[in-house]
Symmetry: C2
Subunit: 472 residues, 2 copies
């Protein structure tokens, strides 16, 4: 048995032996290198060492582990790929880090019923590609799709660029096999498109950030794969004009399959980071919309592109770049998808995942900039504008550590209060996790908080599963 | 004060005075005629007299009423239009029948954000038409849309013919104002298209059949209104062929905006009932599919119709009737929409709302007929085949009262066990309510039942709100 670096008060040697009996010795890790590897996700620069990392191989093993942890009140942090941005997979209480990475099988792509049954440890892009090979489509695709896993996507109710036309993860989850914190294994619903049978346990689990149970199988709805898409990049002098164009496009009856907003810094930093895609950019350009339409008829798509072009021209757009071919499309998408990493590599930052009704985007963007001026911070904004989902990246830049860890918090509170006043909320797709939970009372009053905490207590009476995430 | 016909053990005269103070005397009813009117919904021939009918005018009044009922443990049955088919609005415990019919305002159709804010007492078709006038679309449309109310649709997570392309009620509800059984008024979410902020209370309320709270305002997502649609009626000699054609159409990449199945009896009885629409019907025809496609480009729709026609021909379809004009479309839809009433007027019946993965429909239909032979009952089947949602109407016909109230139950259990074995469940859109609750343990084990009952207890500790619905 390897050396143990740290054992929390509730986790003892005999528990480790039990875990080894359940999963086999080679899937229970206490060596420092592994603990370090699982001490962080993609949230800022936060690290917390778990006491042990366990990689069970199936739902029954997870059930046995949770029964022990439930009995001895050992904290358990479930983890899929660890690409989250709100600290949901951070083992901040030590204890067990439970990785679902070995549950990585696509169990069945059911072409007759347009459904897939998958385990949670499948990489999202791997799942999407396997489905695409059958001429089918699973639309939710976070920017991290190449590395994130479907289990994490379900935990966070992830979105991505296609959500604007096709919806988010919750719109595709039909049924889940879940191990409850007390160890029972249940299915939450049925493999059907409509269900009016009891309470919607499925939608209670989706987006619950691993606090109510660990998903071990998911039945997802699929749709036919659209055969064609067209992509254009539209520059604007005024970012507020870009935001205003967004709701005008929908109001005119168009439903693009992507409608992404990027401030100049976002695309510039991404070009520097990616280093092999160049978008010609006028000095005056301050923001872009990346707009995609998809479908099965080229004439219809061309007409839609024309119609959308006319609308953006009414908002002082510059020269539109129409992607010529698959390669140029891929390059533009690469630029967009890697903005997050580019910002991260550029500076220490905090990312806020604001979401408002889409026509309120211009007000939100102006407000964020004014609040930035007041508190002395620079922000780089980008995101899924069609959904009203604006990622506000606050850059540390010249801010002192004192400002960064002190007065900035008040600025973030002001942003969230603005978001709330516009009918929005504080996370569109990243979740609350560890780093946003102090802000939750801005959008929920004590009655709502009490209901949610009571639901947590009902599923997890010993408070072992991802405790201290979403709320204390 | 009018004469009181019956007062349950927990409801006393002084409570009636309190209700009068809250809502005004004229909105508190104890006269027999009113009590009788609210003693039934559209479920079989069931009647239960409430002790009092109250028609509050806003959320605050509902809150005050519920606080009193919570304190004195008075049963409360919430009711919208009373068109439900599972007995959700039946006041089977007496007490207060709380009608939301006075909360009947469309508060705001927000054309900028493609959202509507509405009260629960608005008739679904009235809401749809008001939205349509703005060039927008709210798709969920139960067959009873001319008389049902949006609050009831939310309580039951209703579907309707358009669900196959556009989804059910839950896919359009963004945020709800809800009065909890304890009297607090909360909003469940935010007015946004994506939300990863805490547990999904919105989806817990949708489909909870009025057991967790009373919805007093709903924020619903809207989409652009498709400009065109085409409709065809396809006859089949073998109903099983019709069912098999359904999944083949989707597997070929088509997504019709309606895909309805009707056995011969259904359409014949409906023609007799409606009495002004005649569909030519070959003697050999035993079932029909009513198939609609919609969109904005006539060439695309024509191509889709051609493609679908080719597929159905592979399943021994007869001569397809293409609807010529708006009038013929309206007639065909009228026939389909009134099947339920036609069956009801024809015989005493029980309606089962089975739903399975769509490719399992042929197996389900065959199974239903075999079980019918075994137990000696005739069934008329129709429904939303594209969703795998088959309404099985069991006709009393020649069955003795003894059989009807006795051995038939075992036949229904066999149908539901078949449904479960196919990955389906016992209600697609009608809910469990009062009349299906005995069957719920077929699809949920004790762990799932315990979770649901605990959620109920958490929201409604005194068990006053629609108690004894869904489960005991």
């Amino acid at each position: 048995m390897p050396m143990i670096t740290a054992v929390s008060s509730s986790l003892a040697i005999e528990h480790l032996f039990l875990f080894q009996q359940i999963c086999g010795e080679k899937y229970v890790f206490v060596d420092e290198e592994v603990l370090h590897h699982y001490s962080h996700d993609e949230t800022e620069d936060l690290h917390f060492l778990p006491d042990v990392v366990i990689k069970p191989g199936n739902a029954e093993e997870i059930s046995s582990i949770l029964k022990i942890c439930n009995q001895y009140k050992i904290p358990v942090t479930p983890r899929a790929a660890g690409t989250g941005l709100s600290g949901g997979a951070l083992p901040h209480l030590g204890g067990v880090l439970l990785s679902v990475e070995r549950l990585n099988k696509i169990i069945n792509i059911d072409e007759r019923n347009l459904q897939v049954v998958t385990e949670p440890g499948v990489i999202t892009e791997v799942l999407q590609n396997a489905i695409k090979e059958k001429g089918l489509f699973y639309p939710p695709d976070p920017s991290s799709r190449g590395s994130c896993m479907i289990g994490g996507n379900i935990a966070e109710n992830s979105g991505g660029p296609k959500a604007v036309k096709y919806g988010v993860v919750k719109d595709y989850v039909l049924n889940l096999e879940v191990v409850l914190p007390t160890g029972e294994i249940i299915w939450t619903g049925a493999n059907v498109l409509k269900n009016a049978t009891g309470y919607n346990l499925t939608q209670l689990i989706v987006g619950s950030e691993g606090t109510l149970g660990i998903v071990t199988k998911a039945v997802l709805r699929l749709i036919p794969l659209p055969k064609l898409d067209l992509l254009m990049l539209v520059p604007f002098k005024d970012p507020v004009d870009a935001c205003a164009a967004v709701s005008a496009i929908f109001a005119a009856g168009f439903v693009p399959s992507a409608m992404e907003f990027m401030e100049r810094d976002a695309i510039e930093w991404s070009m520097r980071f990616v280093n092999d895609c160049i978008v010609p950019m006028n000095d005056e350009t301050q923001a872009h919309l990346l707009i995609e339409v998809d479908g099965n008829d080229i004439d219809v798509l061309m007409k839609e592109m024309e119609g959308i072009s006319e609308i953006v021209m009414g908002f002082n757009a510059g020269d539109i770049l129409f992607a010529d071919d698959a390669q140029q499309k891929a390059e533009l998408w690469k630029l967009r998808r890697r903005v997050g990493e580019a910002v991260k590599s550029h500076s220490v930052y905090k990312e806020e995942d604001t979401v408002v009704p889409r026509a309120e985007l211009p007000v939100l963007l102006k407000g964020v900039k004014e609040i930035g001026k007041k508190y002395g911070f620079h922000s780089v904004c980008y995101g899924h504008a069609g959904d009203g989902n604006l990622h506000v990246n606050i850059i540390k830049g010249e801010l002192s550590d004192e400002q960064w860890n002190g007065s900035l918090k008040q600025g973030i509170i002001e942003i969230f209060e603005l978001v709330k006043s516009l009918g929005g909320t504080i996370s569109g797709e990243h979740g609350i996790g560890l780093v946003q939970k102090d802000y939750l009372p801005i959008v929920f009053n004590p009655v709502q908080m009490r209901l949610m905490k009571s639901i947590k207590a009902l599923f997890d009476p010993a408070n072992i599963l991802n405790a201290g995430k979403i709320f204390d």
